[in-house]
């Protein structure tokens, strides 16, 4: 049997999280709104009205271009893409054709086997979204709410090789979009939409065979599964001596099946031409520099820095940089704490992560601020509290919003620092358990742990175990 290589390119539509739509002042987000309740003459294509470009959309599009290592175009243009569909009220979509906001670009992925894969960007441009249609009771209904929502369309070169890689690319892209704050990137809400172009060729071949386009991929799982499914199908066709035809396929997530939508043999002619109602988008060298400067350190860069500067494991660094707010939290807590990075990392990956998970909050939404975590670790290091108490205090800080020190004091959670009282408590335990004392003295030294447990229990967990152990051994040896 021959071996095959799957060739995948992804086309993504990214909804920018601007306040208003790209060419009018309607709200950009109409999630959950009544159909046609968030529209105006401009976005619903009434005659005579004109588009006015939202500068925020340009800024966010340019920021994304910078994050993708693309070149920000100092003079980009808008064009009309002409076609008829009921969800497109003007009969043309305003998009960018030959002078897009970003040129070139790439994203580097670390594959599970450790290899790097560079996914090049073929196209990155701004455009307006169309509306939605649905068939109901024999009627075709149109909802224009989504018309004019700002999108970036981003198309990769055919640089991906498996469904797994495609899923990884999308996961990374989603994290990046949130990281730089240009999109909520919620696939369920359509903030991030994906179509996949799939073709198959014999291993070693450099030709691109006819591809199919899979639409309606609404989750990362769907992307992975649909591509796996389609590669299997195409390989089977080639194995049987057949030829893969260009289709558009629809992915049904419920049944995990692909169905053919239409043949792509004849490409539509969109008769692109410059949008005369808008001026070219000019960005000066200073503006471009300001946008590039405003780009935060990217996840991959930060991950590498955490490993290098804080000597964290690759595992820890990856988790801590999965979200920008988490990594910001880590660095602030570490700075305030001033101790070992690994300790802060452990607390965050274990206890803080559990707390966030239980409450459904992100790091930036916690009442427990980085300064609180640092203070808690100081209390622990200073022997004021022990580790189990620290875990309790962590939750209490989150619940009450008070500082760790305040909680330890108010709730009496501090360790006993009265050595005389502790000595008395130990003596009391020995006195009450003469048989065990005898056994110990007869050589059963393993009982020391049992005695310590009794002391800790009597103290309500407030005894410092190291001190208690020292006193215990002293008194047991004394007689």
């Amino acid at each position: 049997m021959k071996t095959y290589e799957v060739v995948i390119g992804l086309e993504t539509h990214i909804q920018l999280n601007t306040h208003s739509k790209i060419f009018c002042s309607c709200k950009a987000d109409s999630w959950g709104a009544e159909p046609n309740s968030n529209i105006c003459p401009v976005c619903s294509g009434l005659p005579g009205v004109l588009p006015v470009l939202n500068a925020e959309a340009v800024k966010k599009g340019a920021l994304l271009a910078a994050a993708m290592h693309a070149q920000i175009n100092p003079k980009s243009e808008f064009d009309r893409k002409n076609y008829f569909y009921p969800d497109l009220p003007k009969g043309y979509q305003i998009t960018q054709f030959d002078e897009p906001i970003g040129k070139g670009g790439y994203m580097d992925l670390t594959l599970p086997d450790g290899h790097q894969r560079r996914v090049r960007i073929h196209k990155l441009h701004l455009e307006e979204d169309a509306g939605k249609t649905k068939i109901s009771a024999g009627m075709r209904l149109v909802d224009f709410n989504r018309c004019g929502v700002p999108l970036v369309e981003m198309v990769t070169e055919p640089d991906l090789r498996t469904g797994e890689e495609a899923a990884l690319y999308l996961t990374r892209l989603r994290a990046l979009l949130r990281w730089i704050g240009v999109s909520e990137a919620d696939m369920e809400k359509g903030h991030l939409r994906c179509d996949a172009n799939v073709s198959v060729r014999e291993m070693g071949s450099q030709t691109l065979n006819p591809k199919t386009e899979i639409k309606n991929l609404n989750s990362i799982d769907a992307v992975r599964q649909a591509i796996q499914e389609e590669s299997r199908r195409q390989i089977a066709v080639m194995e049987a001596g057949g030829r893969v035809e260009s289709y558009t396929l629809d992915w049904d997530a419920d049944t995990s099946r692909l169905t053919k939508m239409r043949s792509k043999e004849t490409e539509a002619d969109y008769r692109y031409f410059r949008e005369p109602d808008l001026l070219p988008v000019l960005l000066s060298a200073e503006e471009i520099a300001a946008i590039e400067h405003s780009l935060p350190e990217l996840p991959l860069e930060r991950e590498e820095r955490f490993e290098r500067d804080y000597h964290l494991s690759a595992y820890d660094a990856e988790i801590l940089t999965s979200e920008r707010s988490l990594s910001d939290y880590f660095e602030e807590a570490l700075q305030r704490y001033g101790g070992e990075a690994k300790i802060v990392s452990n607390w965050m990956i274990n206890d803080l992560a559990r707390l966030m998970n239980d409450l459904g909050k992100s790091a930036s939404e916690l009442n427990l601020r980085p300064a609180d975590l640092a203070e808690l670790l100081h209390l622990l290091d200073g022997g004021k509290i022990n580790a189990p108490t620290a875990k309790t205090v962590l939750r209490r800080v989150e619940e009450t919003g008070k500082t760790p020190t305040a909680i330890v004091e108010e709730e009496g959670l501090g360790l006993m620092d009265d050595l005389a009282a502790l000595r008395q408590l130990v003596a009391q335990v020995l006195k009450e358990n003469p048989a065990e004392v005898a056994s110990f003295r007869a050589g059963k030294e393993s009982l020391s742990g049992w005695f310590l447990g009794q002391v800790m229990r009597r103290s309500g967990g407030k005894a410092d175990p190291r001190q208690a152990r020292a006193i215990l051994l002293e008194l047991l040896a004394a007689e």
Binding site: P41, R80, N82, R271, F273
Partner: protein, 534 residues
């Protein structure tokens, strides 16, 4: 005493502001004049009418009496409170039906939009209303402004020329020009894509200006060819045109192609004479270049002799006022104006017409349809007249991926060459250093009804002298320059550099003053004469 409707807009506003006459009285006078001279308003599907209607003007599709009454009441109330009711207080205006006006139907002269009521008002119309003008009606026009005779309107009867009702008023702003010429209104707002304000102004003997692209907002004007379209004033005098431009010009946040350039005081410009101004004449505007309808071969023809003579007469008049006349200014690319326009305007027009699909508003076929494509096909086939269909066909062809390089992209390059001709002529360090170019507005005076209609190529060549200013984005003004042997108005055109509307107004105003005593100035259009004699 001069009849009220003969007053200039400036005179009306002055008298309304001083309380000499009320806005309500002005409105009544305008409606009465319309009743006497205009005849029935255009209607969709009307094919027959009384013989007597043949002599009427038919400038309107719709009279907006209620709207105008409310506006007049507002103006009078303001005046009564001692507030300033505005630069155009109580001035009756006709709005070309390409401008959306809330509270009216806005049809663009098409069956497609016969039932369309916009929920917004075009910026230049709103500025007129805010300045106290009274919107008395919507003026008839060529369907979607595609034409130069107004005959292609779906609303019939289409307008007649007030000077000779057997002739066309020109177009596409034919209703606008006819309403002003017949003194039904003092001012009209028109739109000019290839000459649609200036050519009918010329045919009807009024003043019409296409301002610099970006000087007046296009917001609310139904688009024909967006990169060429300019709203502008039609008036009976240069100073009225200046007054109206003053009100409608200026930046509009709703049209990002409007300029931030401040609007100068145009009345100040009128006070200056033409001493020292350099005014050019070009042999390329003294002939037309024309394809043979049968063979397609390009030939050159002289323009109507009386029109040519009027240009030279005007140049002499201006020279006597102190202007320097510069002859033989070459405008070598003027001859490409119409072919270039054929391509660019149709590409943009076909795209702009996409939105009329029977889905959201406007005409939808009454026939049962089996699928979406049939809904589109039938709605557009029944809703559009012949002109839009021809323009869609050609526009789609020349912008298709296969032909775009040969036609559309090439036309854009030629357009830049046309612009360069003007840059050279107006270059203050160049050989010509012109302040303005003086040309005829049209190669002929008004032609007979049905003489050209139906020949879309011939009709287009009526715009040969005007279209270059649209390509170049420059301001151009048409003003009356006499009558021909048949008593029909001759129009002269001035073209200046970007945002130099002030120069156009200044020169035309100087000419107007210099010819004040000329015999042709006292001639009255037939439509007005008929009324006056009753």
């Amino acid at each position: 005493m001069t009849p009220v409707m003969d007053w200039s807009a400036a005179e009306i506003a002055r008298k309304v502001r001083s309380g000499e006459i009320s806005a309500a009285e002005m409105l009544a006078a305008s409606l009465e004049r319309i009743r006497l001279t205009d005849g029935i308003s255009g209607q969709v599907g009307l094919t027959q009418w009384d013989e007597a209607e043949e002599r009427k003007v038919h400038a309107f599709i719709q009279i907006s009496k209620d709207l105008a009454e409310a506006q007049a009441a507002a103006v009078d109330a303001k005046a009564a409170r001692g507030e300033d009711p505005g630069l155009l207080a109580g001035v009756p205006v006709a709005i070309k039906d390409i401008f959306c006006v809330e509270g009216t139907h806005t049809t663009a002269g098409s069956r497609m939009l016969a039932n369309f009521r916009p929920p917004y008002t075009a910026t230049p119309v709103q500025r007129l209303i805010d300045a106290g003008a009274l919107v008395v009606g919507k003026a008839n026009m060529d369907e979607f402004a595609y034409g130069s005779s107004s005959e292609s309107s779906a609303f019939q009867p289409s307008p007649n020329n007030p000077w000779d009702p057997t002739r066309v008023p020109g177009g596409s702003s034919g209703g606008s020009a006819a309403s002003v010429a017949s003194t039904e209104v003092a001012l009209s707002l028109g739109s000019d894509t290839g000459g649609s304000i200036r050519q009918p102004s010329s045919f009807c003997g009024v003043v019409g200006m296409k301002p610099t692209y970006g000087r007046v907002s296009r917001y609310g004007m139904i688009a024909f060819a967006s990169s060429l379209d300019c709203p502008g004033p039609l008036a009976r005098t240069v100073s009225d045109a200046a007054l109206m431009l003053q009100v409608i010009a200026g930046e509009d946040p709703r049209d990002s192609t409007t300029s931030q350039q401040p609007v100068p005081d145009y009345q100040l410009a009128l006070q200056q004479d033409v001493h020292g101004l350099r005014i050019g004449l070009s042999p390329d505007y003294d002939r037309i270049v024309f394809p043979d309808v049968e063979t397609g071969e390009i030939g050159t023809e002289p323009i109507q002799a009386e029109v040519s003579r009027a240009v030279y007469d005007a140049a002499e008049q201006l020279a006597r006022q102190g202007a320097e006349i510069v002859e033989d200014v070459p405008m070598p690319n003027a001859r490409h104006g119409i072919p270039t326009y054929f391509v660019i305007s149709r590409v943009e027009a076909s795209s702009n017409l996409h939105r009329f699909d029977g889905v959201k508003y406007g005409y939808r076929t009454a026939q049962p349809v089996s699928d979406l494509n049939e809904l589109y096909r039938l709605s557009r086939a029944e809703g559009f007249g012949t002109e839009p269909k021809l323009r869609i066909l050609m526009g789609m062809y020349v912008s298709s991926a296969a032909y775009s390089h040969q036609y559309y992209l090439r036309a854009r390059k030629v357009r830049a060459m046309i612009r360069r001709d003007f840059d050279t002529a107006f270059d203050p360090a160049g050989a010509y250093r012109l302040d303005a170019l003086l040309t005829p507005t049209t190669p002929t005076t008004a032609f007979k009804r049905k003489a050209v209609y139906g020949n879309s190529v011939l009709m287009q060549y009526a715009d040969q002298m005007t279209v270059s200013a649209n390509h170049a984005g420059l301001p151009a003004l048409s003003f009356p320059g006499g009558l021909d042997g048949q008593g029909l108005p001759i129009g002269l055109q001035l073209i200046a550099g970007d945002f130099r509307e002030d120069l156009l107004l200044r020169i035309a105003h100087a000419y107007e003053l210099a010819t004040r005593q000329a015999a042709w100035r006292s001639a009255v259009p037939e439509a007005v004469r008929n009324e006056a004699s009753k």
